[in-house]
């Protein structure tokens, strides 16, 4: 077996040193009744690299590849071009096969990268400090709510109706067990989000109000008033961002007064990967809140010769030290995805990120204008970045999306898929446009959408 270096001669010599007759003597503590006497039956035996690759390729071939068709899906996962050098760097064995940097003297590569990553994320979000990553945006969102309850010593969270339903779902699942109260809402299909209504839901028991920006319908709006209203009630503003590229064009959550900014970093460096692994981003505006943050933090220090170096720090917040009093149970995070994000962000730089954002927005505007001319189709949003909502003349968007797929176009994400069974939302369709979208793709979507809307009852 190609991954097992011991030979039978080695094994015999080692057993002799141990003083065991057979390897099964090393498993004597396993109760006899539970010991398996041979390989588990009805599982295949070992296979060659070629045979395994063949099996996996056959499975991959059953999927429709996003890059092979006009593609407009978003809703928390965006298809961007990832420069080839990103993947080359994350495949270096020194990054790929390293562990959490618990021995900093021989992990400066990972640690310095994390320090740079934290700085990039903090600046992108308009915050003071970011951590070294969480699992993904949705779990980071829950961690933000949990942190707000620690900071404010309150237990009620108000969720905007336009928060990604999976994110709201995660928060509600967790709150069932922690005993926190979650005030959630359904999205209202309006050109602009109802911020006044959201503000009215904040009360003196509220730990935080959670708002997505751009929101699940692609809308963007100034959140300064929400921040002020939250602060006036002693609550924190948590802003969730699922498309970091947007922040190359749009004001940062920190600039609008957000206290905790969390999000999904998948857009940069990571790729679609059918939903994971992704990259949770987590930042705070007030550095005094650092000790309430979840997850790992990398900090600068010096070595015994006075050279600059980096270590994991403030670890007493974490489970391996604080155990049942930890700020979170998170241990492994998304180190390699953080590296991919950081490399991509380094390649872009401020100038490149702004250009990338401008190109996304230009194409999205083009698509919105073209799709608005399709009979029976209306663009909901007044404002958006690279994703907007279409209303389909009362036609079920979910069926139209399936029909479009049959026509060779992956046309977007229907709200019917995200909010299954909610009839008030089933005629709305989310369309995302990135720099990977061509003008021909937009034309093809417009044409096929027109036909599909016409033919769907």
């Amino acid at each position: 077996m190609r991954y097992l270096p011991l030979t039978d001669t080695d094994r015999a010599a080692m057993l002799a040193k141990i003083g065991a007759a057979t390897v099964d003597d090393l498993f004597v503590d396993v109760p006899e009744v539970a010991r398996l006497d041979g390989p588990i039956h009805d599982l295949p035996l070992h296979a060659s690299e070629m045979a395994v690759e063949r099996h996996m390729k056959a499975l991959a071939a059953k999927n429709l590849v996003a890059g092979d068709v006009p593609f407009f899906l978003g809703a928390g996962a965006y298809r961007h071009h990832v420069p080839a050098s990103v993947d080359a760097i994350i495949q270096r064995g020194e990054f790929l096969t390293a562990y959490t940097p618990y021995q900093p003297e021989i992990a400066q590569g990972t640690l310095q990268m994390l320090f740079e990553f934290q700085t990039q994320v903090a600046r992108l979000y308009g915050c003071a400090v970011a951590n070294a990553s969480m699992y993904d945006g949705s779990t980071a969102c829950w961690e933000a709510v949990a942190m707000a309850t620690r900071v404010t010593r309150r237990s009620r969270a108000v969720l905007s109706g336009a928060l990604h339903p999976h994110y709201a779902g995660v928060v509600k699942t967790m709150a069932q067990f922690t005993g926190d109260t979650i005030a959630d809402a359904m999205p209202a299909i309006t050109p602009e989000p109802d911020l006044a209504g959201l503000i009215a839901r904040i009360d003196d028991q509220t730990a935080c109000v959670v708002v997505q920006y751009p929101d699940i319908l692609g809308r963007i709006s100034d959140l300064t008033a929400v921040a002020e209203a939250a602060h006036a009630r002693g609550a924190l503003l948590v802003v969730v961002n699922t498309e970091p590229v947007a922040l190359g064009a749009c004001k940062s959550p920190g600039e609008m007064g957000a206290d905790i900014v969390v999000g999904e970093g998948q857009s940069l460096g990571v790729g679609l990967q059918f939903g994971g692994p992704y990259l949770g981003l987590f930042a705070v505006r007030d550095p005094r809140h650092v000790r309430q943050m979840p997850g790992r933090l990398c900090g600068e220090t010096e070595d015994a010769e006075g050279k600059r170096g980096f270590v994991l720090t403030l670890s007493t917040r974490e489970q391996h030290i604080r155990r049942e009093k930890a700020t979170s149970n998170i241990c492994t995070n998304s180190g390699l995805c953080a590296l991919a994000f950081s490399v991509h962000m380094t390649l872009l730089g401020e100038a490149g990120l702004r250009q990338l954002a401008a190109e996304n927005h230009r194409l999205a505007c083009l698509a919105a204008d073209r799709l608005a001319r399709v009979p029976g189709v209306r663009v909901l949003n007044t404002a958006f970045f690279n994703e907007f909502t279409l209303l389909l003349d009362g036609k079920p968007a979910r069926e139209i999306i399936r029909d479009l797929a049959d026509r060779g176009v992956l046309g977007g994400v229907s709200l019917g898929r995200l909010y299954g069974g909610v009839t008030a939302l089933d005629h709305a369709l989310l369309v995302a446009v990135t720099e990977t979208t061509t003008e021909d793709d937009i034309e093809q979507l417009a044409r096929e959408l027109e036909a599909s809307v016409k033919e769907t009852v």
Partner: protein, 524 residues
């Protein structure tokens, strides 16, 4: 004592003048292949980019509602050659499995096969959107289904929840299922029992789910004290048990198999509780024992440990949880099912009947697909026979190290019988104020990543050595030679060891200063 190196280098070849590495100081601070690297923010510029993008007319009308980001963001860029060099130079300050032996106990640093990487990058897996119409992603759903089937068969469990993102997330999944199961039968309980030797995530997870955590005592031989555990279950009298679950790692963090596991499980079940098994150490028993045969109700499996997906400098992991029939109905959304016609589909929030009493969603989308493809590739490569050999070789290697060290290094549970996949030592006989930390740093100078230190907490100055099955005997022999040499220095009170490492990219780092005045982002 010389530890011969394959390169032919010998300690006596070192020139001992002008500093530790010999030779004069250099102008750059670099020493040939040991290269210093500045911070990105010291070399990058705001107006430099390594990506060619169209220049968009900034004055064109936009739909940003006046929310343009006008102020500088503070990011910097590098061109592609500079980017590749920056990160390549950083990478050379890292130790990885590819470079050498990495016996980090309980973390299972085994070889990461490159076929896994190749397969995960097939566009049919890597370039697929999680919300694409399900008819267009049947292969992706089938991967989840096939991997789930392997996990069920390897563990002897009837069901599996695939969405947890890492081991600790999997623990949370299991504990939430347990709370949901108790609540569903109107029997909410308050306590989770966790041994002192457990990973910190266990008590953190139980506390998160609003349980009170109590310690389970251990016997002097390093296992759960069954009598004490049973006595705890009986507190409050019959039908009044307040224990929701026990969380036990098996093999445990002392490297021993909990031989009374079945008896413990039966007692917990009789008291109306559930058994959570931390599967972090499944590598030792995969293909040899099925946890389902031992009475487990829930167990997470770290795909990045047992099933070789890369650790990536701290993730991403993946933590599917196998579940017993009692807990399966409470598993999180979504899960993959198969229709009569063979098509796969996801059961999500909208399937009000099929979802049953599921406790809800733990994450957006469907889990760590990129890790699923790697783990399934690994399983297919090894097959049922190879995975059994994995466990046997991992255990053999650990016992070989245990028996090669116990004459000079305190091995608190060596008399308890064979260890499983990791050997545990303590710092009992070190002199001159030398500690486990010094031994770890001494091993760095010998070219090794140290073992896990100061864990588990039940052994003073713990050193937990996990060789894994992907090391050759030659590599293990050389490690033993080096480990013995460093331990001899600690036993002899060698002062020089207190300053180790000497040859790493950095000497010991001041963690106290880092924590007192945290500097977590670049200022300037």
């Amino acid at each position: 004592m010389t530890a011969p190196n394959q390169s032919g280098w010998r300690p006596e070849m070192q020139v001992a003048e002008n500093g530790l590495l010999g030779g004069p100081a250099t102008t750059t601070g670099n020493r040939a292949l040991m290269l210093e690297e500045p911070l990105l923010f010291e070399i990058g510029r705001a107006d430099v980019t390594g990506v060619d993008l169209p220049v968009v007319d900034a004055s064109a009308p936009n739909r940003l509602a006046g929310l343009e980001r006008n102020a500088a963001i503070g990011l910097v860029g590098l061109t592609e050659p500079e980017t590749v060099r920056h990160y390549t130079r950083l990478s050379r300050q890292n130790y990885g499995i590819d470079l050498g032996f990495f016996p980090l106990g309980s973390c299972t640093m085994k070889h990461n096969p490159r076929l896994n990487e190749k397969v995960a990058r097939l566009p049919g897996f890597a370039d697929v959107h999680p919300l694409a119409p399900q008819a267009t992603v049947q292969g992706a759903l089938e991967v989840i289904s096939q991997l789930g089937e392997w996990l069920c068969k390897l563990t002897g469990m009837p069901a599996v929840a695939m969405s947890p993102k890492a081991g600790a997330h999997g623990e949370l999944c299991g504990i939430l299922a347990i709370r949901a199961a108790h609540e569903a039968r109107g029997d909410a309980r308050e306590v989770v029992l966790v041994p002192e030797s457990a990973h910190g995530t266990n008590p953190a997870t139980a506390a998160f789910a609003n349980y009170r955590v109590e310690d389970i005592p251990a016997t002097p031989e390093g296992r759960v004290d069954v009598a004490a555990l049973k006595a705890r279950l009986e507190v409050g009298g019959p039908d009044k048990c307040d224990v929701a679950a026990v969380m036990i790692t098996n093999p445990n963090t002392c490297g021993l198999f909990e031989k009374d596991f079945r008896e413990i499980a039966d007692a917990v079940h009789a008291a109306g509780g559930y058994v959570y098994c931390d599967g972090a150490n499944f590598n030792a028993i995969v293909g040899k024992v099925r946890p389902g045969d031992l009475g487990v109700d829930a167990m997470h499996i770290n795909l990045h440990k047992t099933f070789s997906t890369p650790h990536g400098g701290g993730g991403p992991g993946s933590g599917p949880v196998v579940l017993s029939d009692a807990l399966a109905p409470f598993a999180p959304l979504p899960f993959v099912r198969r229709q009569a016609d063979g098509a796969f589909y996801l059961v999500e929030e909208e399937h009000r009947e099929e979802r049953g009493p599921s406790f809800g969603r733990m994450t957006a989308f469907h889990g760590q697909m990129g890790m699923f493809t790697r783990a399934l590739t690994y399983m297919l490569s090894h097959g049922a026979d190879g995975l059994k050999q994995v466990a046997e070789d991992a255990v053999l290697n650990a016992n070989f190290i245990l028996r090669s060290m116990e004459d000079i290094l305190h091995a608190p549970f060596a008399a308890s019988g064979p260890c499983m996949h990791e050997a545990l030592f303590g710092d009992k006989d070190f002199t001159g104020g030398l500690s486990t930390l010094d031994v770890a740093k001494g091993l760095i100078d010998e070219g090794y990543h140290p073992m896990t230190v100061y864990f588990p907490l039940v052994v003073h100055g713990a050193m937990l050595v996990e060789p894994t099955e992907t090391e050759s005997k030659a590599a293990i022999d050389q490690f033993i030679t080096a480990f013995r040499a460093v331990v001899e220095r600690a036993l002899a009170g060698d002062e020089a060891l207190k300053q180790a490492p000497y040859y790493a990219p950095r000497r010991r780092l001041d963690e106290t200063a880092a924590a007192r005045k945290p500097r977590l982002v670049f200022e300037g």
